[in-house]
């Protein structure tokens, strides 16, 4: 164990974050120094919080410096706790009372058109993320966090799960690969994450290892709620095992493809046309549908190109995907608009559903529209289209009455 712990960010561009230096001393009491641009209106609040945390961990002699750029309480608390735990070994956790709405649960087949990635160690992007109304917000512990920041990011993500307002978005976390990812779960599962993204999944075993740990934690904390899994397939091996992965556990809700790593694995370049990954994408969609889960496409990385994104979404939808990732809030609406069914689709679906309802009322075994017989899968697809249209605001929920 070291003597000094340093956690957080503080430089010219930092916002809504702070950097904490913690030094454990043997005498002299507590020396807390706060440098903050919001000191005149939050200085006392920050000081009180710092005292509370130090006292919670039983620290009587220490020097604590907080260089703050407008961090909110749960971020300051995460930074202080991380800095302390770099010096002191303890199982205790300092938790602020969680927001009540952050105890809600989600369903396996909830819409997952858009999920916005948020770097797990960058609080400034978190506070307003939910107001852009993505279906899910992913607190990312994996690629978006530098290796030296992995430890402290866990505290930010844990506190965000409890205290960040997600404005109705599903609370998702992308854990790290392998052993580190399994350890991440201790910071996440007790705090009501709805869905865990598991990167670089290559076999059913990979996913089961994660799920076993989740089950252990749920037992330990006596938690009953569902935690959904979204494995991310990012390698040739993963693609070949897609179907087995999709069925690895009963709580797999969806399966995503990560094309940056996949194309790297193939030793090829990712192109706009995407021919190099066509097989993989077909495979993911087919495996997901076969296993009864959602297929989710990779992110579109040019955040300035909304036309390109729209086209990408239409292709993705055409291949059978049910959603895709995004890395910028402005992408969300484009994704929703283009995943939503088109007007002709909706009109056709309406006719089919009406015909089906009439047939059911009359007790007919066969549904027909004009002279054409309608098969059961077609009816089901039409019903899905209607649900989708309602969910994306393209159709009123009471359309049948009008």
């Amino acid at each position: 164990m070291q003597k000094i712990g340093i956690a957080g960010n503080h430089d010219a561009g930092t916002k809504s974050d702070c950097m904490v230096h913690f030094e454990l001393l043997t005498e002299g009491g507590l020396n807390i120094e706060i440098k903050s641009k919001v000191k005149v209106i939050y200085g006392k609040t920050i000081l009180k919080l710092a005292h509370e945390i130090l006292s919670y961990f039983g620290i009587e002699n220490a020097k604590l410096i907080i260089e703050d750029s407008g961090a909110v309480d749960f971020v300051i608390a995460a930074r202080i706790e991380a800095a302390i735990k770099m010096v002191i070994d303890t199982d205790k956790e300092f938790l602020l009372p969680a927001l009540e709405e952050n105890h809600n649960t989600t369903k396996k087949d909830d819409f997952r058109f858009s999920r916005l990635y948020l770097p797990g160690n960058s609080p400034k992007l978190m506070l307003n993320a939910g107001i852009h109304k993505p279906n899910g917000l992913i607190l990312d512990l994996e690629d978006a966090v530098a290796p030296t920041k992995k430890f402290e990011a866990r505290f930010v993500v844990r506190n965000a799960l409890r205290n960040l307002n997600f404005y109705g978005a599903e609370r998702m976390v992308r854990i790290n690969q392998g052993k580190r990812g399994i350890e991440d779960l201790d910071f996440i599962i007790p705090h009501y994450a709805n869905l865990i993204l598991v990167p670089k999944c290559e076999s059913a075993k990979d996913l089961q290892a994660v799920n076993n740990k989740i089950e252990d934690i749920k037992k330990k904390y006596k938690l009953e709620h569902d935690v959904w899994l979204m494995p991310i397939i990012e390698s040739a091996k993963g693609v070949m095992h897609a179907y087995e992965i999709a069925q690895a556990c009963s709580n797999v809700s969806s399966m995503a493809i990560g094309l940056e790593d996949y194309t790297a694995d193939l030793g090829t370049m990712r192109t706009k046309a995407g021919t190099e990954s066509l097989f993989a994408r077909n495979m993911i969609v087919t495996a997901a549908i076969a296993a009864g889960i959602q297929a989710i496409d990779s992110v579109f990385s040019d955040v300035g190109d909304m036309e390109g994104l729209a086209e990408n979404v239409r292709t993705s939808k055409g291949l059978g995907f049910n959603g895709m990732g995004c890395i910028h809030p402005r992408q969300i609406r484009v994704i929703h608009d283009n995943f939503a069914p088109e007007q002709v689709e909706i009109e056709k679906a309406k006719k089919i559903v009406i015909a089906f309802n009439e047939a059911t009322e009359k007790g007919l075994g066969v549904v027909s529209l004009g002279s054409k017989m309608i098969d059961a899968p077609v009816v089901k697809r039409a019903q899905n289209t209607i649900t989708l249209a309602i969910n994306t605001g393209k159709l009123c929920s009471n359309w049948l009455d009008n």
Partner: protein, 520 residues
Amino acid sequence: MKKYDKLVTNAAGRIVPTIINGEEHIPFKGVGKHRPTGRRYGPKLASCADYPDDGNKEVESLKVALQKAGLKDGMTISTHHHFRNGDLIANQIFDIAHELGIKELRWYPSASFPCQEGLIKYLEDGTINRIEGSMNGPLGKFTSEGGMKGLSILRSHGGRYQAIQDGEVKIDIAVIAAPTADFFGNANGVNGDAACGLLGFALGDSQYAERVIVVTDNLVPFPCVPWQINGNYVDYVVKVDKVGLPERIISGTTEITKSPDRLLIAELTAEFCEKAGLIYDGFSYQAGAGGTALSIGNYFGDILRKNNWKARFIRAGSNQYPVELLEEGLVEYILDGQTFDLEGVRSMRENPNHLDTSPFTSYNYHSKGNFAQLVDIVVLGATEVDVNFNANVVTHSDGYLLHGIGGWQNCLAAKTTIMPIPLFRDRIPVIRDEVTTLCAPGEMIDVIVTERGIAINPLRQDLIEKTKGMGLPIKTIQELKEEAEAICGVPEKIELSDEIVSVIKWVDGTVIDSVRKVIL
């Protein structure tokens, strides 16, 4: 002499001095309550006989011009901010004054900018007694910390004109930096290497100052056309190598925002205006510089295009974005108060429908109406708004004076005033129980649009009715305040010194609030 004396509580409940720098001032009485009496102030009569027969008023340097103009202790010197952060002349004037050992000058700029930070040393050594104008950046910090010898006064652009017209401020020497001029003193801002747009802020000064100096780097043979400044008011003309840096009129705030949060606010503002029926064929609006305001203009353009409508006019601060709307034919006229980029300058030079205005036409209180009143929608920012819709635009929540008033107070006269603002900035909630500094009474502000909801002033029942059931996130201002506090925490009350360092004038010349010294 005491900086200020005789404190009273004005009609807005604010404690303000009635004696400022030895002169009497009237406390704020309420919106539209003050009626000035008497006649307009005028400078001494001039006679052609005292000026060169050949009309050539050129002298060899700014120093000579200032000396000939009789520069002496205690005078009032005015300058203007049409070069914004690219002004080169104000610093030179006070360098010369310092060199000549002149003291106790009153600087009366239409606005100050960080490029004038160098004047702090003259405020310290007594060359300059005080600034009556905006105090931005470093000058604002210096003022807030109590460094200024006299008491500074902040006025709006319209209020500055009003103070000139009614003689509250008698300008001894006005120095006008002009991108193009002739030897007679006719001058404009649209031609020359340093073209920066228009010289409207200097118009009143040219008419009312005792002495007027035009400084240019592009001296053309008579006549200089157009003459935005009329040479018949001018005493001396000075040619310099470089009069200003027009590339610096572009500030960081004149780009469309890329921030997703601000774009969301802009979209919501445009959606609100559309659903409230504020946008129609022939409507008018003013959206200033600033990333959010500019993107709102773009969304307005989309709405006009979609409906095949035209806006009759935009009041601006123009830059490339309103110019695009004008050239596309979505807007018939731009009535421009200052240009914010070189596209704006070009358009003003080339397009007869892009007109230059002045604080007299747009904002003045002592005129028989003004243009600002005729605008349908004005979009303005604020540093703070309180639960009674009162707004602050000059101080930050830490008490520091960091912005000028500009045309902000004058624009409030528009039919609907909308403030698109984030609910909090770096943990600092924007909606407060009470504003730190009162710059606008709440009755003037109609709508607050934030990324988390829209609050409509209860005085605007018409807007409340029209937007009911339209799917807009309408909340009360109290609800918005509480939402911010749930995220940021409840802010502590700031402690400021009792000492006053500046006063804020309302558009009619009365004192609406005082700015207190910060505690270091």
